[in-house]
Amino acid sequence: MGAETVKVNDFAIHVATVNGSGSQSSNNVLMRSIFRMGIPVGGKNLFPSNIQGLPTWFTIRVNKDGWVARKVASEILICMNDQTYVEDVKALEPGAFVIHHDHMNIEAIRKDVVSISVPFSKLIAEACPEARLRKLAVNMVYVGVVAEFLGITDEAIGLAMAQQFKTKQKVIDLNKAALAAGRNYVKSSLSHIRMPLKVEAMDGTQGKILIEGNAAAALGAIFAGCSVVSWYPITPSTSLVDFFQEFSERFRVDPQTKEKNFAILQAEDELAAIGMVLGASWMGARAMTATSGPGISLMSEFIGYAYFAEIPAVVVDVQRVGPSTGLPTRTAQGDVLFAATLGHGDTKHLLLFPGNVREVYEFTAQAFDLAERFQTPVLVMSDLDLGMNFHMADPFPYLSKAPDRGKVLTDEDGDKLATWMRYGDPDGDGIPYRTLPGMKDPRGVYFTRGSGHNAKAAYTEKGSEYVEVMNRLSKKFETAKAAVPQPILTGSGTQKIGVIAYGSSDDPMLEALHLLKKEYQLSADYLRVRAFPFSGEVEKFIAAHEIVYVVEQNRDAQMASLLRMEASISAHAGKLKSIVHFDGLPIHARLIANQIFVSEESRKNLVRVA
């Protein structure tokens, strides 16, 4: 970075702290204060599977053009962790600024970065008379240092603090004192350092919200009328149920009677969590669970049951790195292939791939409509990056469309009940009618089972009756193709190069297209797949391009495999080329752009050789 050019609203700040030291609120205040100045930001938390003591990092990307996905190199590093600062400094690009404790000797590690030594311990001792609060409050000193260097206004910080600490005036006063200590130190002792990175107020965040995907999913469930949530705590899905509980207790408790119109069941394990969803859905409630990979493994038995016995179920899978326990606090799109056919025997499930927080909200809500319409499990495939990191979005719209409760017969449907078969196909779309417990008319009562059953729901071991049910289930899955979220095309559709990506890869993918054009003069069409089963558009897109890069965050190119499994797509399988990233950190634009560029160069050479 040339020290002379001023870089406005385009850089990243990497904060290295110790887990459990209270840095999260300071980082939130720092991020939100920049956001409050109208500048697009994204916040990514890189944390250990630990409660207290291990290293944790928070990266705030500031970008006037709205590119706020992960960026590998940060221009500013804040070193608050003695254990990691040597490695953290080594990873920097030349010219980066290192704000650090005065006992750390940065110049001994590297001479090509700018060392900004701050006596944090001394400053906080002066600003905070209560010794026990210093460990927490010291984090606000670095916010003050950064704010002074970058030009973050006190007004913006005041708003962010009010949001973070609500009405706790004592906490706000303490943090303001710590902040001022940081600012004053820059003014008094660091005026010799030239800081070319600046923030300038703009209007890029007007009216926007900053939200974690797990909060968005909780809102989707609440505004879809979900009344039963069962779960077993697991990172990174835990906060989803925490948000559901927080919002529900605020807004869904009768003010007079104090009675709840929702039930949250903390299960003994994920086997039970999904069993509770099935029981509640079978009874007629909208029910869901939230989990991650290890929970999905345990749920496979009941998900297979729900597929075969045709019971609605909504599962939000906030994916993390597997296999097994894997990296519990790192992100991946590693459950795609497993989830698509979860369970033994022939099974296929509806998967939704939200690409941003707005879609996490909408798809979670839509999952209830789809689950009830198709009487089958629906898995919302979120991930840690979407679920636990902060993303900007326009305020979510209210879901004014009436919920689709699907095909349900009641005691009022006398005539239909005369010929009703629980697993029949009267409408020719593969979707049967169900009835709910409590029904008075005995003609509408049936016995739900995961064992072989015929169209009338009676036990059967007859091959022909089993085949009839299984073929109808396939037909139902075909019908679902038109009902699930359809893919979105970015670009003219006429380029030679096509790209398919999904889920949390969307932001980096869009940025990668921008980089490809700007730096490599390459244009590509981008199709974002948003659901399984795939619509016909996906096949058309692949057919219409010379090569299609499938970008995803797992080792085995799971989406590409799923695409190849589709009969119509398998004819074009040779066109699919995978770009994968699976080190547990979110995929980034530079990686995608570089890999496409390198591949395109070698394709050109191949053509020349031929």
């Binding site: 009677t257 039930a263 029981g279 739900t448 064992s451």
Partner: protein, 339 residues
């Protein structure tokens, strides 16, 4: 069979599909007792939800109350399904039928937790101490020292589900024998009226795989070693009849809905509301090798799950979507907080 009860249904109308279990199976007797209990309590079948797991026992909900929806779930996981269903609709009367494998082995995890949650659920284990459908392996309730049909002797301790249930705070725990209609029907009726989880361990000999010499769950063994702790009568709340037992030999326990369970003491002065005494009784019986039946423990002040959780009195499934979904103003308020 043809006399209608108060809700206008004959006993036959509480029946179900024809049983496919072995002729003479203890489970079929239990099915008949369940039918009697529902019929005699005048419960409308549509108010009932039936649950089961996998195994011979778990097939039986198809053989009673065909006018009630049933959920034959997966092996050892019926408890969670019943939990979700009960949370969603607090007006249903829930009955679960499980087996010793389905509860004490593969279902132990969920069994323990369904007890803790105290759902309104009558949970019946049809306990034959053997895996019948897979042709005769020991189960976790097979007594140590008992023999398999082909001669192998069980080397491991058996699990006493009743002691476990009492220990975990279950508010209604009893044991009976499939052939004892006089004891079982009142126990089932009491269980159905109990506010919370009622657990009944019913010894039900497997006439094919566990009815031989050396088995401790055979008809002969049960007949020779079975000891009732009391005779039981059940008095529904709406039938204010006089209890005709002589004072000093009768214990009446009032259930929260106003109905009563009457226990006639035979062997000893036994107070079924004393949890510690119940546990002592079971340990003592085990040491003596006596097989006790009866109502071991009842907590008349049991608070069911829905009340602990302060769920709405209106079942969640009966609330309209307009009631369940907060209005647009709520979303706007939340969105403003996130700006």
């Amino acid at each position: 069979m043809l006399t209608p009860n108060r809700v206008g249904l004959t006993k036959k109308e509480y029946g179900g599909a024809a049983s496919t279990l072995c002729t003479g199976c203890g489970h079929d007797s239990i099915t008949l007792h369940i039918i009697s209990a529902f019929y005699e309590l005048n419960i409308e079948p549509n108010r009932v939800a039936k649950f089961s797991g996998i195994g011979c026992s778990s097939k039986t909900p198809a053989y009673f109350l065909s006018r009630a929806h049933g959920f034959n779930s997966v092996h050892g996981r019926m408890q969670s399904v019943a939990t979700g269903a009960a949370a969603a609709n607090r007006h249903m009367i829930n009955i679960a039928v499980s087996g010793d494998g389905d509860t004490a082995s593969i279902g132990m995890g969920q069994f323990v937790h369904v007890l803790r949650r105290n759902l309104p659920l009558l949970y019946v284990v049809e306990n034959n101490g053997v895996y019948g459908l897979t042709k005769g392996q020991f189960s976790a309730t097979s007594d140590r020292g008992s023999a398999m049909k082909k001669g192998d002797v069980n080397k491991f301790e058996s699990i006493d589900l009743c002691s476990m249930a009492i220990d975990l705070g279950c508010g209604f725990v009893g044991r009976s024998f499939s052939g004892d209609a006089k004891q079982m029907v009142p126990l089932l009726k009491g269980g159905l009226r109990h506010r919370g989880l009622a657990f009944l361990d019913v010894i039900s000999p497997c006439i094919t795989f566990n009815n031989h010499e050396g088995s401790t769950k055979s008809y002969k063994f049960m007949k020779d070693n079975h000891q009732l702790i009391h005779e039981i009568g059940f008095v529904p709340s709406y039938t204010p009849i006089e209890v005709d037992y002589a004072p000093g030999t009768v214990k009446t326990v009032q259930l929260p809905d106003g109905s009563h369970i009457t226990l006639k003491k035979i062997e000893r002065d036994y107070d079924p509301t004393n949890r510690k005494a119940a546990l002592d009784l079971l340990v003592e019986a085990e040491e003596k090798g006596i097989f006790l039946t009866g109502l071991f423990y009842v907590d008349p002040n049991s608070v069911p799950f829905q009340d602990v959780e302060k769920l709405s009195q209106t079942p969640l499934v009966e609330m309209s979507m307009d009631t369940l979904r907060p209005p647009e103003s709520v979303l706007t308020e939340i969105m403003n907080e996130l700006k």
